[in-house]
Subunit: 403 residues, 2 copies
Amino acid sequence: MTVRAAPSPEEIRKRNLAALLRHVHRDGAASRATLAERMGLNRSTILALTADLAAAGLVREELPGQTGKAGRPSLVVRAESERVYVVALDVGADRLAAARVGLGGLVLDQIETARPMGTFDPEDVISALASMARGMIGKAADAVCVGVGVAFCGMVREEDGVVRYGPNIGWVDVPFGASLTRELDLGLRVAVGNNANLGALAERERGVGVGLSDLIYLHGDVGIGGGIIMGGQLLGGEGGYAGEVGHMIVNRDGRPCACGSRGCLEAEAGELGLIAAAGRTDRAGRAAVEAIVEAAARGDATARDALHNVGDWLGYGVANLVNIFNPSMVVFGGVLRDIYLASAAQVRSRVAVDGLQAVRERVRLRTSTLGGDATLIGAAELAFADVLTDPLQTLARISAGLE
Amino acid sequence: MTVRAAPSPEEIRKRNLAALLRHVHRDGAASRATLAERMGLNRSTILALTADLAAAGLVREELPGQTGKAGRPSLVVRAESERVYVVALDVGADRLAAARVGLGGLVLDQIETARPMGTFDPEDVISALASMARGMIGKAADAVCVGVGVAFCGMVREEDGVVRYGPNIGWVDVPFGASLTRELDLGLRVAVGNNANLGALAERERGVGVGLSDLIYLHGDVGIGGGIIMGGQLLGGEGGYAGEVGHMIVNRDGRPCACGSRGCLEAEAGELGLIAAAGRTDRAGRAAVEAIVEAAARGDATARDALHNVGDWLGYGVANLVNIFNPSMVVFGGVLRDIYLASAAQVRSRVAVDGLQAVRERVRLRTSTLGGDATLIGAAELAFADVLTDPLQTLARISAGLE
């Protein structure tokens, strides 16, 4: 352990600016008095920090709505959501999505393109994403884009945005982040993350898991990805690839999986497992899952049995994760939200039978409150990371690059 | 995020004393110059810190061994291993063990008692452990005991040492730490931890995983426990019970497990699974495992098949953990060391088939270098925690309690 020197006044100011901006970004507009209390700083320091951030165009002060209190109302500090934004992109197995998200988390614009399942050519994906992003940026000429983040449905090396493995769209070792950075040519490095990891962060910041330290987010599209937050930190592992819970084998003699193994959780309890169990020939995708859930609700015995069976496998997977991680919450997102809602009794029953008491007694099973947007919102948070770490420098760097 | 005030000089001194003591405890004797370099402090600060620790009897300075260099040799700072020690205890399913371990990690004394498998009465265990501990403490009248730590083969609530669940010895919600503290009456709180968690810490501090940030330690006795270190931190989960990888279900229709489920990893790949697969009627325990391994080595086909079968299940468990955690190393300890060594081909083959490439390409599978003592050494480290956090205060508090 080395002992560090006390931070310089300039370093303290940078940290405080970042902390204040994070507060209004995450928790919404707040009065200076509230910010002073939350941050443990005095009001004159808050005043100075707010003035700096306002001068940079990152926040503004304005009258709050009606408070019902007598006397002069205190001004609130609010993020400049219309003026400062990021572009969030999402590459799923059957869709591309894009959003323009303002500082403070406000979704300003959003588009989605369904795509046929199967192998995606990286160049096509990059050019489609760039075109979606450019369209959104073009509509916001008087605002500043401070970051671009992408959620990707596979294993990503975060430091350089290389997709190591995206089995459901046929990618291996694709330099995705670098290519998209070049194609967009915004003077901003495009940050790429695993979609389930980003979904986990989004649910913890703005969704059903706000404030939780030990949370597992399970994202279903064709596959099942896991984003695992333990002790407040996203689990990375040696290379940043932790969380591939979809390839936990639950059934040695089970269905073949796109990864080459058999009986993986995603093969048994994901979209494809459900479609096969229901004896359907639909292509995978949210519509196919919805059709089975609706058929079961109408009383179709085959559909009901398929959901029962898939729910049981999902329950094995969840019980295993509960025993391994002792999480306070497991969140089901993407199409896994629909699958879980239609098979919750089986899932809960398996956790009750196979979870050890000390861990199962405290875990809550919940569906994503951000719905299909969890991964996209997580991508936006990834894109905001730089400006929330060093607001003024990041803005200055971006302005210099744009001039 | 609140912003903290800079630490006081007194707080900085406390932290530096702790950091210096941790260096000599963990890495062995070192010259003041080496310590200055490692800690990023100047030599006069090191001199003052060493003097304080030496006055308290925690370290001494002495001539090093022959260095081969000309000139006046530099004194080295060495932990007072004979003078300052902890008592480490280990409750396994088939043994009780105790050690007196000196500061610096030197095992000064060690005893072990084999016990028949089955339900243990908590009072018997507490009185046996207390008697072992007292015997050791009695032989060290001129030294000071600075902590007592226990490794327990089950789920432990660390803050108060309550055993929530020890299926293999039949304990549920036993206030073990408090009872042992009372029984020993040393003026020291007995700290209790899960044995696999402590084994993981021991292997990372002093064993095969030194310096690794992402390590899984699998400990086999009757059950299989997991200690998981991710990003340098032991995985705790919401209640501190994370790591129960032995109850990951790998075979839905498999063998019954002591936890009430079927097909848990420990039922398929642990001692009992191996004994059953080999068609033996031996009681569980290290001797039974060794007998099967020896029979297989002599060419006994049944024993060989049993190890093959068990190794295959162990491989499924390890492949799942590799996909879920992306660890840099998986360490096999306790009887799992023997089982792994005799079935490594099956385990490795499963990981090669079922591990995703980006995670399997970097993971190393290794056996514990601390052998059967990993959990006991981990218990010693747990017992040293207080004195390594605040050396002088802890010592003062203990002295006051003893006087």
